[in-house]
């Protein structure tokens, strides 16, 4: 008798236990324990994450999880950020909104990345979900301020509207006035991507004034410096703030106004914006610097001395985004002042210039790696590197989880020895045992991939460009990297052999992007035929791949696992290779 009781936990109890499990990975693991756990779990999953919107259909998601409140979808491959994915490729969110509008009137949160969002989609969201709270659009495009107006007008419980890095058709700044005067629930607003020259400052000011719970406010470049004080005056509770343009005629009254208002923001932890900075106004933020944990100066075209002064005031900085104007000297100061630094991104101020315009070299990265014990994530653009520096970096900072290095000129060798940088990157993967993300650059042979396949056992995402000698390189990665989920490759001499030999591996990954390499159309067809659970998509703007000989390499190839089968929204320059592809194309 009591044996039976031990096995029949009431569902509600299990549900309650599961409610403490938030991570998708854990939820997925829970659902695989047994059939009854699968059932219980699917009814109580409140947040769904779909890493590739084409891996599954909206209907399948809704069928399995009947009561979710929050969905996160990702669309285009990462290389779309650098214009490698032609317009019209796909990633449309509308079908998802349409299906959910019918099934889920109680949906609260939508988070999208690299998807095409139309005004129609936004209007449908505004109309369908009465308790809608969170809209985060990251690197999305396809909508205008009209769509935003619909959201503003209808979503009475909206807490978060975040349009980070989106491309928005700026028809009118007056969309902000569509928030009713009774609306006060805004907690987070990020409109930094908007352009409009005429911004509705009074509507913005009134909105900020009545939304007393506002914690995050990221303005766009159009908001002038002298307007910031008026806006901030009504929001001393802000935790994250992004300025607009940070330049104006130097006037003492504007300066003191700004400094005064900023110093009354006692909760401020994160600053960003700073377009067109003039150094004279920088000291206005010194009073808040000691509490800052995050600082984004990646648009601030100020020189090293001013950057150094600023950074020296921020001992609690955990995250810094900056242009290479900071130079090696600035990074040395950063290394000695900011011992809590976890993430650093250094962007190039003159990426297309033939000569270096600033004194930023591998030394800066070495200094920060040596000096900042908590540093785990780096994105660094520079023009020279050495194996010696990379080995020093790897040895001193084995806690790196994300290491992205971009040496601006492709195939640049070690500047000291003129050798490839295989050994340097090899050290990175060997010492940094928890490395999850890696981007390579510089002169690299198959050797570096051998190191990666051997050591990078936790690596989930790898970006490769202009590297390697042969298929062996790709084979090392596909056969060795056990945790690999996303692989993106461009302009490498990788071809059919490695791809076909590791076909099964591709089903264990989210996606593979491979462009301007040596994969033939024949291999693509074969892969599509043999692997029904992979969508093998050839992207070629030159015309149908079968109008060229079979052994001709395809321009771009995007392979991803899917249980939804081939998609139906492909533009004319994308072809799916499947079992019937041989028949369909001839």
């Amino acid at each position: 008798m009591h044996k039976k009781m031990a096995f029949s936990f009431p569902d509600e109890v299990l549900e309650h236990v599961f409610s403490f499990i938030q991570s998708d990975k854990d939820r997925n693991a829970v659902s695989m324990v047994c059939k009854s756990w699968y059932e219980i779990e699917r009814w109580c999953r409140r947040k769904v994450f779909v890493g590739n919107c084409y891996a599954v259909s909206p209907r399948m998601v809704i069928r399995r999880f009947p009561e979710f409140r929050s969905i996160e979808l990702k669309g285009k491959p990462h290389f779309a950020d650098f214009n490698l994915v032609p317009d019209g490729w796909g990633g449309y969110v509308f079908p998802w909104i349409a299906e959910m509008a019918g099934a889920y009137p109680w949906l609260e949160e939508i988070r999208l990345k690299r998807m095409v969002v139309t005004d129609e989609s936004l209007e449908l969201i505004a109309k369908s979900f009465k308790n809608f709270k969170v809209l985060v659009l990251s690197s999305c495009e396809g909508f205008s301020t009209d769509g935003l107006a619909a959201i503003a007008a209808s979503c009475k419980n909206l807490k978060e509207l975040d349009l980070r890095d989106c491309e928005v058709d700026d028809l009118s700044a007056h969309w902000l006035s569509h928030f009713p005067e009774t609306y006060t629930s805004l907690v987070s607003l990020n409109i930094s991507c908007l352009g409009s020259d005429e911004a509705s400052f009074s509507a913005l000011e009134r909105l900020v004034r009545r939304c007393t719970n506002l914690k995050t406010l990221r303005l766009n470049r159009a908001v002038p410096l002298d307007k910031i004080a008026n806006i901030l005056r009504h929001a001393p509770q802000l935790v994250e703030f992004g300025t607009g343009t940070y330049t104006a005629d130097v006037r003492p009254d504007v300066y003191s106004d700004l400094a005064g208002v900023l110093s009354s923001c006692k909760e401020l932890k994160s600053l960003s914006g700073f377009w067109d900075v003039i150094p004279d106004y920088l000291p206005a933020i010194y009073p808040v610097c000691s509490k800052l944990t995050s600082l984004n100066l990646s648009y601030a075209t100020i020189q090293s001395p001013d950057l150094i002064k600023l950074v020296s005031h921020c001992p609690n900085l955990q995250r810094l985004l900056v242009l290479d104007y900071i130079e090696d000297s600035g990074l040395e100061v950063l290394a000695s002042s900011c011992k809590d630094l976890q993430e650093l991104r250094v962007f190039p101020s003159d990426p297309f210039g033939a000569e270096p315009n600033v004194s930023l070299t591998e030394q800066g990265l070495v200094a920060v790696s040596l000096g900042c014990p908590k540093l785990q994530s780096v994105l660094y653009f520079c023009r020279r590197m050495s194996n010696e520096a990379l080995v020093t970096i790897a040895r001193s900072r084995p806690n790196f989880t994300r290491f992205r290095l971009c040496i601006i000129e492709p195939k640049t060798a070690d500047y000291l020895t003129l050798e490839p940088l295989d050994v340097g990157f090899g050290a990175i993967v060997q010492y940094c045992k928890d490395l999850r993300r890696l981007s390579l650059s510089g002169l690299l042979t198959d050797r570096v991939f051998e190191y990666i396949g051997t050591y990078a056992k936790k690596l989930e995402m790898l970006s490769v460009a202009f590297a390697g000698d042969s298929d062996l390189g790709l084979h090392h990665v596909l056969s060795g990297c056990e945790s690999l989920r996303k692989l993106e490759i461009r302009d490498c001499p990788f071809g059919d052999k490695a791809l076909l030999a590791n076909a099964a591996k591709l089903e264990t990954m989210r996606s593979l992007w491979i462009s301007s390499c040596a994969v033939s159309f024949a291999a693509c067809k074969l892969l599509g035929q043999k692997m029904p659970r992979l969508n093998v998509e050839v992207i070629d703007e030159r015309g149908p791949p079968d109008s060229r000989p079979e052994n001709c390499p395809v321009d771009k190839l995007y392979i991803y696992r899917s249980i939804a089968g081939p998609r139906f929204d492909m533009p004319p320059f994308v072809w799916t290779m499947d079992e019937d592809s041989g028949l369909r194309l001839s």
Binding site: F79, D81, F82, N83, L84, D165, C193, W275, S298, Y299, T301, P305, F347, P348, S349, D350, P351, F352, A354, E355, P356, N357, V358, S359, F381, C406, I408, E409, P410, K411, S439, S463, A465, D469, R490, D491, C492, P493, G495, S516, C517, A518, S520, D540, E541, R542, R548, P549, N551, C552, P553, D555
Partner: protein
């Protein structure tokens, strides 16, 4: 956008050859790699070997680089931000290179943004972290090992400060901070 195609005096066959090569070293380097010939594909050679084979014309200036699509990997909105900065100043900026004896990097400054010599010299002092001496018409720059010089339209090296400012900014082609005896020699009014 074409890179100037080599400085060979021969038939310039390279211009017609389609390869995937290093950008900047081969002017015909490919922006869209789909221009490869079939023969090359069959050879399974992506032109990794085809680089730096033409070192004959070392005196010729390097050909302008062909821009590669999507490289360096920077988001469009960052590129646009840099672009607007450049465009704003391009409308009238007078950019000259500044070199300093002993420094590994050249710098570039816009002469237009300075209103006169004191401001310019202050900026250069800040840039290279040194002090220029005091200027006098008779003795040049005294009190330091450095002297700011410039190359004018005629190719002559002049001491900064001798001519009126307006004349200077229209005739200055590049700046050089001379060090040591060379600097002192110039100040002595040869």
């Amino acid at each position: 956008m074409e890179g100037s195609v080599g400085y060979d005096n021969d038939l310039n066959l390279r211009a017609t050859e389609l390869r995937l090569g290093l950008p900047g070293t081969e002017p015909v380097s490919i922006v869209r790699s789909n221009k490869r010939s079939l023969q090359q594909v069959a050879d399974d050679d992506c032109g990794v070997n085809g680089c730096r084979s033409d070192d004959q014309n070392e005196t010729a200036p390097p050909p302008p680089k062909a821009q590669i699509v999507g490289w360096p990997p920077i988001r469009s909105y960052r590129k646009n931000n840099i672009q607007t900065k450049k465009n704003e100043s391009e409308g009238g900026g007078i950019y000259v290179k500044v070199s300093m004896d002993g420094a590994p990097y050249l710098r570039k400054i816009d002469l237009k943004i300075y209103s006169g010599y004191p401001e310019l010299l202050q900026a250069i002092e800040n840039m290279f972290k040194f002090t220029i001496g005091e200027y006098s018409e008779r003795e040049g720059y005294k009190g330091s090992d450095y002297a700011p010089t410039y190359e004018d339209k005629d190719g002559d090296w002049m001491l900064v400060g001798d001519v009126p400012w307006e004349m200077f900014i229209t005739s200055c082609k590049r700046l050089r901070i001379m060090k040591g005896s060379e600097a002192r020699g110039l100040g002595c009014g040869v």
